[in-house]
Symmetry: C2
Subunit: 327 residues, 2 copies
């Protein structure tokens, strides 16, 4: 296993220490593995989190205009309720807290328990669950669709709404609307190695890729041979477009890398996705290309579409300043 | 070869098309593979470039406060003089143009020829050559030290100076000062595959890394066994600190990934580098962690230190807005 780490047991803690050194506007709470903003404005607090290994998600989205706190579990493992509770406490300024949860069974259970614990402390907490991955209806890690890169749009839009001084109900409404409007579909070309395991979680042949694989290596739709960028754009977009109608609409597009895929390839894919969407008379309002929600050193990508209206466009364009996204 | 591409001969052109779709404030000139700003201010123009495969370098640094144009060669191959000339023409608003060249023999030759061609058109062009890599004194690709990730600091600081309305001589002075103050050192853990070649350019054993390897896979200092993050920080920083004295100084630090190294590992390395520099009584003013100068899907990293004074700090903090760096 070739990784730039020390003890595999310490990767999350040392990563978050390294993060706050680079971004001193953030504070790190060790033992609970929470990253929060130092400078708190009085507004609805936004908290997200989940297993580590998906960097920059979620700590990289803590900052003005997005999250107020992010809670990290061990690699690909949900954070325990006490960690999430700490995130809630840090994000709370008296106006309530919204938890943005990706739909994995462990996260649902732990975030829900934290919501209850926070309730006992008198903190008003609401939750939303992101289920953007159209690949599979249920998975080894989830009942219902999984939450993947589309979650970043939920952070962005709900975060922008919270900055306006909106109530918890209003912020939750925007988060739910974003979730209703977002779809993703991905594929993997190589496995990743968990630091504590030391060997790949699955194997793919020399010229084999897996369409619809999850961000923890959960099985996808099919294993197939390597495709051209144009074919991949076709396959991934078709699956999304079969799921909801965005013809004639404006969308935000995210072309996301899973960790080891060079920016060169993501831009080439973006070029093809844009051509494909144009053919379907879909107008792209804004494009994000980069590593937004990763799976350690997995090679591969995902495509996310977010159907926009005037409200969502305004929130998408609102200023934000976080380590991984600045608008 | 698993890559998200179409025809290997088209990767540069399709990548740059995909880039301008995501960043419509930029314009792409095909055939010459030049990316430039649409919105031109009257100021000294900055142009950089080189072989492709190092994304986001250099097209990702075109924008307000950094470059005015970037010229792309084929993968790991220097752009021809006519391409560089087009970059100069696009960057020129009558106040002269500075070429920021990484020290590789091909780039030196082609950028120098372009400078001559531009001179014949009456465009005043100056050049600076970045030689930040302390690993080797000469290499298979260069006479003298190679230019690597430290080049990004030259783009940033010279770019900030140009925005102030400074003369070509003043912008060149800042670029030269930055070059004098910047040092980098890297290591590779895995090879990369050129799209047109289809197999790795070199091989490393299961537990083998190469210290000081170049960003095109040029030989480094030594092949050794995999190290901990703490050991790597020690090795890379020691080589830089042996080369120049920054004790008691303030520095900017860049922890750069070569393409396939997850952000998790870069943050863990950052944590160790900060500890190491603290021990040497070096104060870190600002830290950049991410993929700034890559080698396709190579796994590995580089460390860059930039010795700062008040002038350089101010230029480092100046606003910039490019696809790959926003301050």
């Amino acid at each position: 296993m070739k990784k730039i780490i020390n003890d595999p047991n310490d990767v999350v803690s040392e990563m978050l220490q390294g993060l706050v050194k680079a971004h001193p506007q953030l504070v790190y709470f060790d033992e609970v593995e929470v990253i929060a903003k130092k400078d708190k404005a009085e507004k609805v607090g936004l908290v997200s989190g989940g297993g580590s290994g998906h960097e920059p998600a979620h700590a990289g989205y803590v900052g003005k205009g997005m999250l107020d706190a992010a809670v990290a579990g061990n690699v690909f493992a949900s954070p325990s309720p006490d960690r999430v509770l700490k995130g809630i406490q840090e994000a709370n300024t008296g106006k309530g807290v919204l938890l943005i949860i990706k739909n994995y069974s462990g996260d649902i259970m732990n975030f829900d328990m934290a919501q209850e614990l926070a309730g006992m402390e008198g903190i008003k907490v609401e939750t939303v669950v992101v289920r953007d991955d159209v690949a599979v209806e249920d998975s080894t890690h989830s009942t219902g669709r999984r939450g993947i890169a589309g979650t970043v749009f939920v952070h962005k839009l709900a975060g922008a709404k919270a900055e306006t001084g909106a109530t918890l109900d209003e912020v939750k409404r925007v988060a739910e609307k974003t979730i209703a409007n977002v779809r993703s579909m991905g594929m993997a070309m190589s496995p990743c190695v968990l630091p504590g395991v030391g060997k790949p979680g699955f194997l793919l042949g020399e010229n084999e890729i897996e369409i619809g694989m999850g961000i923890h290596g959960e099985p996808g739709v099919e294993k197939t041979s390597i495709k051209t960028a144009a074919e991949l754009a076709e396959i991934l977009c078709d699956k999304i477009l079969a799921d909801y109608d965005v013809t004639g609409n404006e969308v935000a597009l995210m072309v996301n890398g899973l960790g080891a895929t060079p920016l060169m390839e993501l831009y080439i894919l973006n070029n093809e996705v844009e051509k494909k969407l144009s053919k379907h008379n879909i107008k792209i309002y804004k494009i994000f290309v980069g590593n937004y929600m990763t799976s350690l050193e997995m090679a591969g990508c995902s495509i996310t579409l977010l159907k926009l209206d005037e409200e969502l466009k305004e929130l998408l364009d609102a200023k934000c300043d976080t380590p991984a996204m600045k608008v």
